[in-house]
């Protein structure tokens, strides 16, 4: 039962690099995250205008998911792919922006377009909208990458037919440091779905 499911593909976005299955598919030369992610978006021919309204965390999560999901020949109607994401900094990058806009009574300009991103799970909504995922969503916060809990949760959803596939991982954005690691779990695949393999892939790059 433990080894029933497999990791079909995985992506990393860190250190100005986007990789799929361990192979670099884009390397940027701008250390500034907004510039880097914009060049990656263009290079990867993502073509999704809502991308530019997203906050940093959503852009990071969206692109890390997109490079995997566009290989999946998904239905345009609906897809049952659960999203189980996690990080350490929640939405603090955008939280700090919202807090700044309300700190002083003389410069009090809270914006709904910023405030809506002060929740970490908004990126799950963005990915669900793009890929028509009417599926299970969950966002966890851990002190560090926690392969065991992601593994258990994904296993439970697949075992109980609550999802056909599960996209899991870590998407963290804090100050100007960022890191995304996502992997797709389903029946078929080369890599066995277990905690050791998840940790191995996480540490691969």
């Amino acid at each position: 039962m433990t080894n029933k499911f497999h990791i079909k593909s995985y992506s990393h976005i860190k250190s100005q690099t986007v990789s799929v299955n361990g192979n670099v598919i884009f390397k940027g030369d701008d250390a500034d995250f907004p510039n880097f992610i914009k060049s990656a978006y263009k290079y990867l021919e993502t073509s999704y205008s809502k991308f530019f309204k997203m906050d940093n965390l959503s852009k990071l999560a969206f692109l890390a998911a997109d490079v995997l999901l566009k290989q999946e020949s998904l239905s345009e109607e609906e897809n049952n792919i659960a999203l189980i994401f996690s990080n350490k900094a929640s939405s603090l990058d955008t939280d700090r922006k919202h807090q700044k806009s309300i700190e002083n009574q003389d410069e009090y300009f809270p914006s709904p377009a910023v405030f809506v991103y002060t929740l970490p799970n908004i990126c799950l909504g963005e990915i669900s909208i793009k890929h028509k995922l009417y599926s299970e969503n969950s966002f966890f916060i851990f002190d560090r990458f926690n392969a065991e809990h992601l593994y258990l949760y994904a296993n439970n959803l697949l075992q109980n037919n609550k999802a056909e596939k599960v996209l899991c991982g870590w998407v963290d954005f804090d100050e100007n440091s960022y890191e995304a690691f996502l992997y797709l779990v389903e029946n078929k695949g080369e890599i066995v779905h277990n905690t050791e393999e998840i940790n191995r892939l996480y540490n691969l790059l």
């Binding site: 806009s101 405030f115 929740l119 799950l124 009417y134 599926s135």
Partner: protein, 382 residues
């Protein structure tokens, strides 16, 4: 598969510091909402359910040194302590801890906060609770907008099913801060009057602060008199919009459908629906559409926001606990603030506290990011 139950519980709110006191107040039709005119929180009057920092501190100093803990930490600890004490479970490595919150200690970002900014990390909040009680496993924080409190129950069930834990304690809480008030106000979603879920004259949300905690267990040995069994649960995304609900209630419809299917319960088998009912125009309308699509339009339904306000990451757990007590007492609580139906499709809103034999109830929640969670619960025969 092993059965999972909700058992010992606590509500720490402006209506009282334990579930029984809160339920007693609700039975007497008392609301925790009040009108506030406090410029340091919002430049205009608002209505909310607030807990005074002084009162929380005074209560906390009876068990530990309040100066070391933020207001939210004090509330969560006070709430969780009562549940751990009542359940008499020793905290070994088979016991899990889940924290459900949307914003945690977000108030430490304020310039005047005396706490270090590192306290704003939700994992730090998890560590603080873990260390206070001496949990042996790392805290799991669920932060999934306004479904967090219900989703935390699902997550507990799933981790128990995977045999990682025998019992899980959940503690949920959120504060009414300048951060949250300004944000909801920027959406023009706040009402300065007590909220009126599903009512013709509803104009928006009231926010509320609360801590609510519960024991989730697979062992029948640890059940109390209001314990319920989790029959089925599901979360579905609307795949429609990040800040507005689907017009057709798609995600809510799907999540309730999936939860009922797992529970093996049809619409006719649900005795009561504890809905989300934020009192915004779009949310309440979306729910009415989804409940009609599900054939639940005749099932007695309430929103509890008229008693507690919208308590964000705690609301789903808080309202589930009230549902458990409702079922135990065979008493439906009125959907406070409601007088005249203001949604386009008929739903059966509870207009006064009404005795009714209750066995199975449905809890739902919906939130930003397009998420919807539903769980079907059943009274235990203990």
């Amino acid at each position: 598969m092993a059965k999972t139950y909700l058992s010992y519980n606590n509500i720490f709110s402006s209506l009282g510091f334990d579930s029984e006191t809160v339920i007693e107040k609700m039975s007497n039709d008392v609301s925790g909402l009040d009108r506030y005119d406090n410029n340091s929180l919002l430049p205009q009057p608002f209505c909310a359910s607030l807990l005074s920092s002084e009162v929380v501190r005074e209560e906390f100093n009876k068990i530990s040194d309040a100066s070391k803990y933020t207001k939210l930490e004090q509330m969560l600890i006070l709430s969780l302590k009562k549940v751990i004490d009542a359940s008499s479970i020793t905290l070994n490595d088979r016991i899990g801890l889940i924290i459900s919150t949307t914003k945690g200690n977000i108030d430490v970002l304020e310039q005047e906060s005396s706490f270090d900014e590192s306290r704003s990390y939700l994992s730090e909040l998890g560590k603080t609770l873990k260390d206070f009680f001496g949990f042996k496993s790392e805290a799991i924080v669920v932060s999934n907008a306004c479904v967090s409190g219900v989703l935390a129950i699902s997550a507990a069930k799933r981790f128990i099913a995977e045999k990682k834990y025998d019992h899980i304690f959940i503690s949920s809480g959120d504060l009414v801060t300048k951060f949250i008030l300004s944000g909801f106000n920027s959406f023009q979603a706040l009402s300065s009057e007590p909220c009126k879920p599903y009512d013709k004259n509803r104009i928006g949300i009231n926010l509320g602060e609360v801590a609510a905690s519960i024991l989730v267990t697979s062992s029948k040995k640890h059940l109390n008199s209001e314990a319920v069994e989790i029959l089925g649960d599901a979360t579905c995304n609307d795949a429609n919009h990040i800040s507005g609900p689907s017009r057709t209630g798609e995600g809510l419809y799907r999540s309730v459908n999936a939860a009922m299917k797992e529970a093996g319960v049809k619409a006719s088998g649900i005795d009561y629906v504890s809905a989300h009912g934020t009192a915004t125009a779009f949310n309440d309308e979306m729910e009415a559409i989804a409940f009609n699509r599900l054939g639940l339009e005749n099932v007695p339904l309430n929103s509890l926001k008229g008693y507690f306000g919208h308590t964000l990451g705690a609301s789903g757990l808080l309202e589930t606990i009230v549902g458990m007590h409702s079922v135990k007492k065979n008493l439906l609580f009125s959907s406070k603030g409601f007088t005249e139906l203001g949604v386009s499709q008929n739903i059966n809103i509870i207009t006064s506290n009404t005795p009714k034999t209750l066995n199975v109830f449905l809890k739902t929640a919906s939130g930003f990011g397009g998420c919807n969670t539903a769980i079907v619960f059943q009274k235990t025969t203990n």
